[in-house]
């Protein structure tokens, strides 16, 4: 963390005092939770921090049969505010996050106006604090207006109250190699990371779905794997050359996994994420032309699904990030070609990971904690998240019931939008409680109004 952190009051610390309304006093006894899926034991929380001894008068949560993980951290969330409050707001999106077990989300910069100035990132950050469901950490745009032409004031965003460390033009690729090089170099000054949406624009003009057997059959313009992989290949070499941190957003192809694996084997400063939907769904679903399956990057093939699962299991892929992308009904209730790209993810991510990674034996619960919290917090330079559930640490945690199962019902989601690709799917696991610095944001499976 940079020196700036000590100069300003940490947002974590003063947000905490503000949050002593609703959701409990901050003193809790959590009875018999299986920590990271291991042995059951009790957890004690006093004033938002884990302590070794039970606090007299603390509220008790019966966690028999539940698993305790550090509060989840999403590196890739579209909260749509400012600009598209019809799709989502910071308040509704962070409620959805809490319901999904998250205690921190990174709000992507492609809002309207774009989060490319200190003013906008501070506004989003403040809205997150006011909502109080999770820490909303803004991501700053790399270029002005995410237009890919000149650098935004990255330093001003880094120095702002929002303390931006992750920069991304997500939705657009920083395709200009020289600009990408400069961005990588520049963010070194404040320990930043450039999160790249890897998509070669010329190879994906008018692209509608993964280029493959299905796109050919459906007559939809293909989105070749090489359009993603070519940019990743270039960027990992730029990361090596500049010695700066590159984070690869939502990689989706087997080739991308190979490239990141190679870059890591060379010791290059590269991290990567995969979305829940790319862990589970394939382009075969597009056959019905239902735009709920339209997403960027597109759903790929079964071989790609297997490759990203393997990459997540062996640590090549560092994190699961939702790319939660809410859209109003009319943006999806139309022809495929005019539909918006993107899917909801916050409230289903943990269940999808349980289904695709835990139940397949690819990850244990400690691995889930690592990929959905610990590493995400480290990449985002978020203090106080992704920490062990031990005395002295901030009490950010999620309790989940791995034996539960639920059928995903769009109407029951907390997001303002309904575009989940998992509607009607029966998925395992359910979040029973989420605590943000000792304040319950979810209890007994219900979001606590704040």
């Amino acid at each position: 963390m940079s020196e700036l952190a000590s100069e300003k009051p940490s947002p974590a610390a003063d947000a905490y005092t503000e949050r002593q309304r609703g959701g409990g006093s901050g003193n809790w006894t959590i009875r018999g939770a299986r920590i990271l899926g291991g042995e059951a034991r009790d957890l004690f929380i006093r004033d938002g921090v884990f302590v070794a001894e039970e606090v007299r008068g603390a509220q008790v949560v019966d966690a028999d049969g539940l698993i305790a993980l550090p509060g989840l951290v999403d590196l890739h969330t579209h909260l749509r505010e400012p600009g598209r409050e019809d799709a989502e707001t910071v308040a509704t999106g962070s409620r959805a996050a809490a319901a999904g077990g998250y205690t921190a989300v990174h709000a992507m910069a492609n809002t309207d106006p774009v989060a490319d100035t200190a003013g906008v990132v501070e506004q989003v950050w403040r809205l997150g604090r006011e909502a109080g469901y999770c820490d909303v950490q803004p991501v700053g745009a790399v270029t002005v207006g995410i237009a890919g032409e000149r650098l935004a004031e990255l330093g001003a965003m880094a120095d702002s109250a929002a303390r931006v460390r992750v920069f991304s033009d997500d939705g657009h690729c920083v395709s200009d190699a020289a600009l990408m090089r400069r961005a990588l170099e520049y963010v070194k000054a404040f320990g930043g990371v450039v999160a790249q949406h890897a998509q070669e624009p010329r190879l994906t003009e008018g692209a509608q779905m993964n280029e493959g057997e299905v796109s050919s059959a459906l007559g939809l313009r293909g989105w070749p794997a090489v359009a993603e992989e070519a940019v990743i290949a270039r960027d990992v070499l730029l990361a090596a050359h500049t010695g700066s941190r590159l984070h690869v957003c939502h990689l989706s192809t087997a080739g991308s996994v190979e490239l990141v694996r190679w870059a890591k084997s060379k010791g290059y400063p590269v991290t990567a994420e995969v979305t829940p939907h790319h862990l589970l769904l394939t382009d075969d679903l597009v056959r019905g032309y239902d735009p709920v399956y339209k997403v960027n990057p597109p759903l790929r093939t079964q071989a790609d699904v297997e490759a990203v699962r393997a990459g997540l299991a062996d640590g090549t892929i560092d994190v699961v990030a939702t790319d939660h992308a809410p859209h109003p009904v009319e943006a999806k209730d139309c022809e495929w070609a005019v539909a918006a790209m993107g899917m909801l993810g916050l409230e289903t991510a943990l269940s999808v990971v349980q289904h695709t990674m835990v139940e397949t034996g690819l990850l244990d619960w400690a691995g889930v904690a690592d990929r959905m919290s610990v590493r995400a917090a480290a990449i985002g330079s978020l203090d106080g998240h992704g920490r062990p559930l031990e005395p002295g640490e901030p009490a950010n945690l999620v309790l989940l019931d791995p034996a539960a199962s639920r059928t995903i019902e769009p109407a029951e989601l907390h997001s303002r939008s309904r575009n989940t690709p998992f509607a009607g799917l029966k998925l395992p696991g359910a979040v029973r409680a989420t605590f943000l610095r000792g304040t319950a944001t979810v209890l007994e499976g219900k979001v606590i109004d704040r």
Binding site: G219, L220, E330, E335, A337
Partner: protein, 318 residues
């Protein structure tokens, strides 16, 4: 038969044969002095066109009118660039109007599928061409034409030449002709050959000349001139030289083989005037057959199991 006609992939050999046989029956009334049947009296067919295609619209309109249906032409503007009323809102309007069948031409692949399956409308949907996906009635009329020229399609060799990548006609034909037992060969430059074409029920070649002598029919696809600007091929002249059908090339076809084109043609690009106007060409025949095939489709989707042709007195119903 299914409730909609969206893709030739949905047609079994029996379904397709039934449509072609029905079309043959209906073609006979074209020779009568009164070309009208009362079969679909009181039914409403809407032609919903998001793309200008006078020839296809007129063909469907003629077909519906010969079956005495009420026809409403609804030309909807709106593309990915200029958005007009949404497909959904238009569909709800048509539903309220009580359309029994909607014939839809849409610039977006899947437009007809969406209309049929999104739950907006209850009427039968006929795909009159959707983006670069399918154009099933064109394939049916091609099959009809081939059948009338060659007899059965079983074991017949059909070449489809040109911009296969962007061709809805090619997709529908590959699926239908293979279902009917024909052996299809696609010929295109590699840039205009679909990805993963190896998985299609046909063979493919980048070279036209070795394919021609084995064919019973060759279908030339329209090449849009703007493809050149997108670097799919270097020049029109080179395209024409490698993939165009001119008189000299036509001579390599077996004696009985026919030349087809779904129209509109670029004379001098994919087909020379001499070939287009030759006796081997079925191009005008295809237009006439289009009406019969579309009558058969509308009849089978809307008329159910009643006989297609009754006498005027019987009112077309039992």
């Amino acid at each position: 038969m299914k409730r909609h006609l969206l893709s030739t992939a949905d047609l079994s050999a029996d379904d397709a044969t039934l449509i072609l046989d029905t079309a043959a029956e209906l073609a006979r009334i074209a020779d009568r002095p009164i070309k009208k049947l009362p079969t679909l009296r009181g039914r409403t067919v809407v032609n919903l066109f998001y793309e200008d295609s006078t020839r296809t619209r007129i063909s469907f309109e003629t077909a519906a009118k010969r079956l005495s249906a009420d026809v409403i032409n609804f030309s909807a503007k709106g593309s990915s660039v200029s958005k007009g009323e949404s497909l959904k809102d238009t569909a709800l309007t048509l539903e309220a109007m009580g359309a029994d069948a909607v014939v839809v031409r849409h610039w977006a692949s899947g437009g007809a599928y969406r209309l049929a399956h999104a739950g907006w409308i209850r009427s039968a949907v006929v795909n009159a061409g959707d983006g670069t996906h399918e154009h099933p009635t064109q394939a049916l009329l091609d099959a009809y034409t081939l059948r009338s020229r060659l007899g059965s399609l079983e074991g017949r060799r059909i070449g489809i030449v040109g911009d296969v990548l962007h061709s809805r006609v090619a997709r529908s034909n590959v699926r239908l002709l293979s279902t009917l037992g024909a052996e299809v060969t696609l010929v295109a430059p590699p840039t205009l050959m679909p990805f993963a074409v190896e998985g299609w029920p046909c063979s493919s070649s980048y070279d036209l000349d070795p394919v021609l002598p084995k064919l019973d029919a060759v279908m030339m696809l329209r090449v849009q001139r703007e493809r050149m600007d997108q670097a799919f091929f270097p020049t029109e002249r080179e395209y024409s030289r490698r993939y165009g059908l001119h008189a000299q090339r036509m001579a390599a076809l077996p004696e009985h083989a026919v030349v087809m084109h779904p129209g509109p043609m670029n004379r001098g690009l994919e087909i020379s005037a001499e070939v287009a106007d030759s006796t081997r060409s079925t191009i005008t025949e295809q237009v006439a057959n289009g009406v019969s095939v579309r009558m058969a489709v509308l009849y089978l989707l809307l008329g159910g199991s009643e006989p297609a042709i009754g006498t005027e007195n019987e009112g077309g119903a039992k």
